[in-house]
């Protein structure tokens, strides 16, 4: 084994504390060090994935105390898959924003990159930890860096968006504490595996109520329907790459948290139906709202919420095919939505309100960016040669296997809506004339590299979906095997 899961948290934190010191001596270090750390995290997760595939789940104890006394980190095929995805995206976001506008100023650029690094660290922590209170701490790390990053531009109305986010987040964190305390008061432990083992001892009413509090709290970050009021504003006002980071990293971590609760910790099946219902409402509401948006980033934000609804539906199906489809959707959404946010922010660069009409005729001025946006748009609709097709196919087959005809019909109808509003933008890019006089901004080299690598992944997965299906298969099997998770954590031979 090359490293161990705890380095995912220890190294970024060490770097975060060192950066203010090195920044005094060498100003560029505040930009370089976070990138190095994110690259390190990515390679670490790849090497650990290789180890896990051969030897099985790694359970790391902290402070030398075995669970349930101490906190433990779990690096299994499922959490490892998400960790790899998140750290990769974190690195790509760093690469894209390496030369971003205001980052030429020293103070803000230091804060931007530090907060970005800790946002990724917090999300990875949520995924790896095996303790619900520790999960709460990491959720707060993610939230606070999210507030800071959202209000990064002082000129825009970003403080309003951040305040909305903070308002929801603060209430959510109290609900999370209540849920944790209900569970603690009944079972006397905070370790997820220990709770899962003792769950049958708990009173049914308290079980349901604590799950409701959990879902209310985590739903804020997971953007499920009544709790996502913050999301469109945050995506609109935050810097472009941060929109990608939210869609690709933070939301994935929150979805992971809710899935871990329902699949591993709780033991009643009504929760799966709850997932399907929440997912359907979120999906329908978000996609119909996205149709009516006239701003590009807002449209992308609603589309992102809708995709998360689809992921919830797929998890709610509950079979192995369903989980497989959900993981594939998560992967695709993370890659494609980041590509759309990256290229989209160049298409409407320097425009005050970022309306969709600003992309008119950009195909001539920014050919590569436009092609990449088009690839992203086609892929997320689910057109055949691109990656999105396979994930849509997977969820439809999973639903068909369970005879959920209504579900299939709804997904297909809403997908048509999705196609309408994405193709509308693509149409504007290529077949409209440019009216504004402002010069379009050419993407810098590092941004171009980031976007092209995402575009290549979309194409490669589109042609060879088998490249990833093995990993997804193992991850899905790992999530569904609850007994194995409990055994791995609680019977540790160390």
């Amino acid at each position: 084994m090359v490293g161990s899961p705890v380095l995912f948290v220890a190294i970024p934190l060490l770097a975060a504390f060192i950066i203010p010191l090195t920044g005094m001596m060498w100003k560029n270090s505040v930009r370089v060090i976070p990138g190095l750390v994110l690259a390190f995290m990515f390679f670490l997760s790849i090497s650990l994935m290789g180890y896990v595939n051969e030897h099985g789940t790694i359970v790391e104890v902290l402070a030398g105390w075995k669970p349930p006394i101490g906190i433990n980190l779990v690096f299994s095929p499922f959490t490892g898959f998400l960790t790899t995805l998140m750290t990769f995206l974190g690195f790509i976001v760093w690469l894209y924003s390496y030369k971003f506008k205001r980052n030429v100023d020293f103070e803000p650029s230091m804060k931007y990159f530090m907060l970005l690094m800790l946002l990724v660290t917090g999300s990875v922590g949520i995924v790896l930890t095996g303790d619900i209170f520790n999960m709460f701490v990491f959720i707060e790390i993610v939230s606070i860096s999210g507030y800071g990053l959202t209000s990064f531009y002082t000129r825009r109305d970003s403080a309003e968006a951040a305040f909305k986010f903070l308002f929801m987040g603060a209430i959510a964190s109290t609900f999370l504490l209540i849920a944790i305390m209900i569970i603690y008061s009944q079972l006397g432990t905070l370790n997820i595996a220990d709770i899962a083992e003792k769950m049958p001892m708990m009173d049914h009413k308290l079980k349901v109520l604590s799950l409701v509090f959990f879902i209310l709290a985590i739903g804020v970050e997971a953007e499920i329907f009544p709790l996502n009021g913050w999301a469109p504003d945050v995506y609109t006002e935050a810097p472009g790459p941060i929109g990608a980071a939210f869609a690709g990293i933070v939301v994935k971590a929150a979805i992971y948290a809710s899935v871990r609760l329902v699949y591993t910790m709780y033991d009643f099946s009504g929760a799966f139906d709850l997932f399907i219902i929440i997912g359907l409402i979120t999906f329908i509401m978000a996609e119909t709202t996205a149709l009516r948006q006239d701003r590009l980033k807002r449209m992308l934000a609603y589309s992102s919420i809708g995709q998360m609804g689809l992921v919830m539906i797929a998890f709610g199906i509950g079979t192995k095919e369903g989980v497989y489809a959900a993981l594939f959707l998560m992967f695709n959404h993370a890659i494609i939505k980041s590509l759309l946010f990256f290229s989209g922010s160049y298409l409407v660069f320097n425009k005050k309100n970022k309306y969709i009409k600003h992309v008119n005729g950009m195909g001539k001025y920014l050919p590569i960016t436009s092609v990449l946006f088009t690839i992203g748009a086609f892929a997320i609709i689910g057109l055949p040669p691109f990656a999105g097709f396979w994930s849509k196919l997977a969820i439809l087959t999973a639903a068909a296997d369970n005879k959920m005809v209504v579900l299939i019909a709804v997904i297909l109808i809403i997908s048509i809506l999705e196609a309408v509003y994405y193709l509308r933008v693509v149409n504007r890019i290529y077949f409209y004339d440019k009216k504004e006089k402002t010069e379009p901004k050419k993407p810098s080299l590092n941004a171009l590299v980031a976007m092209i690598s995402l575009g290549v992944i979309v194409l490669v997965i589109g042609f060879y979906p088998d490249l990833i299906s093995g990993i997804l298969d193992r991850a899905a099997a790992d999530l569904l095997d609850k007994g194995n998770y409990i055994k791995d954590v609680l019977t540790l031979n160390k």
């Binding site: 220890a10 060490l14 975060a16 402070a63 006394i69 101490g70 103070e107 860096s145 209540i178 006397g188």
Partner: protein, 231 residues
């Protein structure tokens, strides 16, 4: 109308909360096989720490505390970023009522003892109620007192950054030393000593001192940034 909806939903929430927690009961042992006894006995026998809360915060669940320290660090970072202005004038603070001579001398007299009290609280965190967060907060109140009393009292920004970073680095390094020498992050590497003595509990005391410095520097930094906010 909005108030009615809010009141109704709050009523529902309140009803359920009261229902849950009255059902749980007050002052009774709720569970039979919890980790509470393990924490108590391990803290007494293995770690020799008399304040069990400190043992939990710093050692058993030390990873939480690292996250907690990071949250504070993030809060001060985010606060600096949010309040950032292009040309940041650090001028005189706007003071509504200038302090009288009595307050000035009193503050000068009190300041060293406040800092001493704070240091006492975080050094003895494993023996008595208290610890790094509490002690750091006490020290920060001392700086707040000075900043409020003297209009031109200033704290060197760079010095705060040094304290903050070095304390944080110390915390993570202790964790990494445990990881490399004993195989698990934050594991105790020092002899535990005897119960109820200053040198007991191994690394717990050192970590709490680092936390105390860090919290004091961070809170002072936050107060300083906000006090210098002018329109």
């Amino acid at each position: 109308m909005k108030k009615v909806i809010v009141l109704i939903s709050l009523g529902i929430l309140g009803f359920y909360l009261i229902d849950i927690f009255l059902g749980i009961g007050f002052g009774v042992q709720h569970f039979t096989a919890g980790v509470k006894d393990l924490y108590l006995s391990n803290s007494k026998d293995t770690l020799k720490v008399s304040n069990v809360v400190t043992a939990i915060v710093v050692n058993f669940r030390g990873f939480d505390t690292l996250g907690e320290v990071t949250v504070l660090f993030l809060a001060s970072t985010a606060l600096g970023g949010i309040l950032y202005k292009k040309r940041h004038h650090v001028g005189e603070r706007s003071v509504l009522f200038p302090a009288s001579r009595v307050v000035m001398s009193g503050a000068k007299l009190l300041f060293p003892s406040i800092v001493l009290l704070g240091a006492y609280v975080f050094i003895h965190g494993h023996l008595s109620p208290g610890g790094g967060f509490q002690g750091g907060t006490i020290i920060a109140t001392g700086f707040l007192l000075m900043l409020l009393t003297y209009r031109n009292y200033s704290v060197s920004h760079n010095r705060l950054v040094y304290f903050e970073s070095l304390a944080g680095i110390l915390f993570v390094s202790i964790g990494l030393v445990g990881y490399f020498s004993k195989g698990s992050f934050l594991e105790n590497v020092l002899p535990v000593g005897n119960m109820n003595e200053l040198f007991s509990g191994g690394v717990i005391g050192i970590i709490y001192i680092a936390v105390g410095f860090k919290v004091a520097a961070e809170l002072t930094g936050i107060i300083y940034t906000v006090l210098h906010e002018k329109d």
